[in-house]
Symmetry: C2
Subunit: 168 residues, 2 copies
Amino acid sequence: MQVKRCYRTVVSPEEETARRSDCPTASALDLFGDRWTLLVVRDLMFFGRRRYGEFLEAGEGVATNILANRLERLGRGGVISSTRPRENSRAKYYYLTRKGIDLAPLMVEMILWSAKWEPELPVPEDFLTRAESDRPALLRDITARLEGVLANPGSEDGVAPFFAFEEP
Amino acid sequence: MQVKRCYRTVVSPEEETARRSDCPTASALDLFGDRWTLLVVRDLMFFGRRRYGEFLEAGEGVATNILANRLERLGRGGVISSTRPRENSRAKYYYLTRKGIDLAPLMVEMILWSAKWEPELPVPEDFLTRAESDRPALLRDITARLEGVLANPGSEDGVAPFFAFEEP
DNA sequence: CCGTTGACTTGCTTTTTGCAAGTTAAATCT
DNA sequence: AGATTTAACTTGCAAAAAGCAAGTCAACGG
């Protein structure tokens, strides 16, 4: 069994961007194939979180260095970007780019799969029924909100969480 | 910034199945949030690979122990299962369960996202056009093939790769 | 019977993760 | 205005996971 060599990204100084293969699946996994990256996408997409501190408090307990690393990776991957709301502000708002917004179908399928196969997880009923009855419409809704954020990413107005996923 | 604790799976003796949170996204990532797991799903789903050696030779270069670990994890997660084609045969055929087959929409969205945003990757034209023109039909086609395998997983007949992804 | 193949396991090294503590400049309070 | 707090990170170190090479062990093929 002869096997090819694997070359992969390095965490530290400047992460390489070499990809393992030309497979689209492998290439996507090179960018977000880990336990944290898609959670920040989720936070941006469904929970209206957009700041470092908000991601940290999201509940799953990312380490601060890992979060910083994943934000950087997503940024270099073109999935997110960031602005300061005002000049010289220390605050920083992250937001999904068009490429990031385009992950919505993937995220929705992931949630639906989990909902179906681990029914004890709390997924909002109306999310499921809307996904069932008219998925394209649901996706248009999600996308439209995110495009609103993208159009004015530095707005200091809070971003409303996607209705189906408001937290208690 | 107060942050909650993270508890996670362990590789060695008996992997725990504790989940980090009730979020469906986080829960899914607990199962397949890494660089290799979904590649074996891809192999089973699109390339007609179903044996250990075939996964190894897939081109991305998984280490043998990692592959064994991921197969075990997917098995425990109910995504795949395996049979021996004949009694006392050492050969072992892996196959997607219904839960695994249900990952098809996720996988397809992932491929389409990669194809869109990294256009230099070689994705078969007809896959893209079919996905564009009638995605449900494409998914039914993929699913039907996999259900064929599931109905007779020990068959020693080769599984044809999904037409769109045949290799050179 | 004997070397080969297939499906792993084991042991060790390197890389990545996790965690706690530290840094720095803006924002807020007194 | 000066002191304190907060936000967004770094840094250093320990623990876990990934990567690599080599080994096992029972069928299989000749």
